[in-house]
């Protein structure tokens, strides 16, 4: 397995990737668009992009992922995609009848310079229907950038400041996380008794229940009315600087809603910070229910600290998630020695390095990296545990290291998208997963005489 990955690290000057730790913008945009109620994402480009993105999202969520495409052939690539898009808009509303059509571009349509707003001006959009768009060139950023761009598109097209004074409500941008995480974030805010609008919100869309009926547009998603009303909120909390800040800033500019970026609330500290921000902004007490959960989490961490303390861990995945995970494992007394994201952005390296430094640690930290290099790091400094998405299983097998699957995509296990990793409850789950991985490993490797009932 991965036998051709040498231990010796040589700089690869090309800038090409071997085993990428990121993918392209449009899939992130498609995922974000699914978080609008009764929205059909539309991929403006060749069919293959849409097919690949739908397949990948379907494999991760194991739920129908519907999206349409402009189905370019060579002609459209030469003469521009205006005609294809106008036809697509007509057909989408006539056949599937969504309330919103959310268009994202691809590297093809970005390269030929298709001007989506100009096309939209000429298109026949049925009365009462909404078309929004985001530019998502695949040759910039990653799927996280695409998520961010589509979320900002929601603000650009829909947010409105219509009330004289801001309402006592908070906008929450959850970032590129699972519907299970979105549900958990909503539970926390509800427990605080605060009115909120979460956008995008894919819960109820990509984790829809089995009812014996197929609903093309399930119950979930942020409604258009809610998206409009985001302009009237008192505060926007962007969870995760990579996936959520841009939309929050756009909303601040457009509707004067103050923006605050926090970490994705993974682990005690980030969750504390999230709740404190809500508490201080809305002058409301954090309910005992949440304080109790926090206390339980800390109790678990203390009770089991010996399992984690000093254990070396390598973490990869999407930047906001990896930052959160790094903070969580530091809180467990673990030593993150390799931390990598595929998404470019120097702030990632700065933020992770600062966290490590605070714990008196130094490690390999890289943004815009790939799994080939990540594997080489592990060969040079082995770890006790890898935390990352499904693609990590090849390295885990090659180096015989346990893998805890967290992030996007997880293609080889199920249920993950329902189970939160955010909040105190999510942290408990992560601690359990990490603990089980390490203890299962200890059991597997133990000599008969060292095999123990109580651990």
């Amino acid at each position: 397995m991965l036998d051709f990955t040498p231990k010796e690290i040589k700089e690869r000057a090309s800038g090409g990737l071997i085993n990428p730790a990121k993918t392209c913008q449009p899939i992130g945009a498609m995922y974000a668009a699914l978080g609008i109620h009764r929205c059909l994402p539309h991929s403006h480009g060749s069919q293959g992009c849409c097919a690949y993105h739908r397949s990948h999202l379907t494999r991760h969520f194991r739920d129908p992922i519907l999206a349409s495409t402009s189905s370019f052939t060579e002609g459209a690539s030469v003469f521009g995609g205006g005609a294809n898009l106008k036809t697509a808009i007509k057909n989408v509303f006539a056949i599937y009848n969504p309330d919103v059509m959310a268009i994202h571009t691809t590297c093809l349509t970005e390269t030929i310079g298709d001007d989506i707003p100009a096309f939209l001006n000429q298109a026949e959009i049925p009365e009462g229907k909404i078309v929004i768009h985001a530019n998502t060139p695949s040759y910039v950023g990653s799927h996280i950038t695409g998520f961010s761009n589509m979320t900002r598109g929601m603000v650009n097209y829909l947010s409105e400041a219509t009330t004289e004074t801001k309402k006592e409500q908070v906008n929450i941008i959850p970032g590129f996380v699972n519907p299970g995480d979105m549900r958990e974030i909503k539970r926390l805010v509800k427990a605080m008794g605060i009115n909120f609008i979460m956008f995008p919100d894919t819960s109820g869309v990509v984790d829809s229940p089995m009812t014996g009926k197929f609903e093309m547009f399930p119950k979930g998603g942020t409604t258009v009315e809610e998206l409009k009303d985001t302009g009237n909120s008192k505060l926007t909390i962007a969870l995760g600087s990579f996936a959520s800040t841009d939309a929050a800033i756009a909303l601040e500019r457009k509707c004067k809603v103050p923006a605050k970026t926090l970490k994705t609330p993974i682990g005690v500290k980030a969750t504390d910070e999230f709740l404190m921000t809500l508490r201080n902004t809305f002058v409301t007490e954090i309910p005992y229910e949440l304080e109790e959960e926090r206390g339980q989490l800390v109790d678990i961490m203390v009770d089991t600290h010996h399992q984690f303390h000093g254990k070396k861990v390598a973490i990869f995945g999407d930047p906001d998630i990896v930052i959160g995970l790094t903070e969580l494992v530091l809180g467990l007394g673990m030593v993150p020695v390799h931390v990598l994201t595929g998404t470019p952005g120097s702030s990632f390296e700065k933020e992770v390095r600062a966290m490590l430094l605070e714990s008196g640690l130094k490690g390999n930290v890289k943004a815009a990296g790939d799994l080939f290099e990540f594997h080489q790091w592990i060969k040079n400094e082995p770890v006790d545990l890898i935390i990352g998405n499904t693609y990590g299983k090849y390295i885990a097998r090659a180096e015989d290291i346990p893998l805890v699957r967290v992030g996007f995509p997880i293609l080889d296990r199920s249920v993950h998208s329902y189970m939160p990793i955010v909040g105190y409850k999510g942290a408990m789950r992560l601690v359990e997963m990490i603990s089980n991985a390490l203890l299962d490993r200890q059991d597997r490797d133990a000599a008969d005489e060292d095999f123990e009932l109580v651990m």
Binding site: P6, S14, P20, G48, A51, T58, T87, C107, F372
Partner: protein, 533 residues
Amino acid sequence: MSVTEKDLERILEAYPAKVKRNRKKHILIKDSSQEPQEIEANTRTIPGIITNRGCAYAGCKGVVLGPLKDIVHITHGPVGCGYYSWLTRRNKAKTPPDGKNYLAYCVTTDMQEKDIVFGGEKKLAQVIDEVVEIFKPNAITISATCPVGLIGDDIQAVAKAAQEKHGIPVMGFNCEGYRGVSQSAGHHIANNGLLEWVVGKGEMTAAPAKYSINILGEYNIGGDSWEIHRILEEIGYHVIAVASGDGSYEDLKNAHVADLNLVQCHRSINYIAEMLEIKYGTPWLKVNFIGVEATCQSLRDMAQYFGDEELIKKTEEVIAKELARIEPILEQYRKICKGKTAFCFVGGSRGHHYQKLFEDLGIETVLAGYEFAHRDDYEGRQVIPHIKVDADSKNIPELHVEPDPKFFKLRISPEKAEELKKKIPLSYYAGMNVDMKDGHVIIDDMNHFETEEFIRILKPDIFASGIKDKYIPHKMGIPSKQLHNYDYSGPYAGFNGAVKFAQDVTAMFTNPAWNFIAPPWKGKPLLEGQLQK
């Protein structure tokens, strides 16, 4: 249950006029009294329609080239295309003794904005240098993605220069996603390259063993190819190369010496079979190793081709032995499957092949079709000369081959070939439609809307398709089987595959979880009481 013209009209009525006119030509209700029934296929997908189709890149790198294990496949483009085609088709491959198996590696030039503006050729050349240094592969392929063609990167020139520099084959494939109307265009582009640059480059001048064959259009999803190998080798065949499941550059370069080419997936590889016949004189036989009956028939056809009494005898022995082993097992599953109905809408040839396996279990296919087929896949090869070549197909370069001066060898006389053609599908494929029953639906490029509508009318017991539409029938309470990747199971080919398939399908029908869909309180009154007497 079947679909009437009236039902069809009602479905199509929901479409805007232009869409209706278009889609009407892609849907047939089988009516043997009107044969031949013509279907439209391999035409553009209508923009805005939720299709299951992919693109030329997906067909080229994703399907055909990707499984070749001793080659490093470089995707030239932004990160996505390489990423999505990385290990997602379950093409299994054993690592050979020399250890060259690169399937777990995904190499992409990860083009950035500056590469789009200033060109990506230099970056590509550098990536090739790094690949050679790190991996030392037997060959390299470069697959182009959409923006590469648009900005005019000359990947052929880069490939040529790299080949000279490194002394290994470096092959460029212009399979930009917008070429053609589906992944089928990419198969064609990939096959042209394999024929031009790989086959015939080996040292072999004659078949190394009796009954030497190649298997074409078999991708070893879930280990299908290994089960086919097991059976063929037991009978006494020698498999030289497989295109391309568990295949390799090293094997494929000697494919020219085989005495017969088997064609499993007609759609993805009929071109190469035809060209191999012209260039090297190797005839091809359409086979189908999906389904018990189909496998037996294919084995018998192969034996007839070689016409050797010993081989015919051995073939019957193996068939008898295998049937004696698996029939009692299948019989148990048939009890559950019998009388059920299926939709079978899959990529290129599976929409036809799997009907045979369903049939073995007593399941009738009431609707079938292909994502990216051409008319000949439905109507048979005799329509090929009558297929209109449109602008989209013209953009895919046609390879014109001639008999190879060094390797061409007539395997069987023209007279013998003519005689065989009357008995076995030598150089022939009759298409899917002949096997469909009257009243059943044949549908090309079935889209989401039609999927929902036809399920409502026909209420199949099982829906066979791919990952994108799998969960739609699921939500309706209908078991759905992925036949692109077998729901991570398999193999489904050959005799053992039929058993595995029967087990899996039966598990879908009988799993208790389906019974929980309706909560027990639904339809029950909130308050229960009794009338007082």
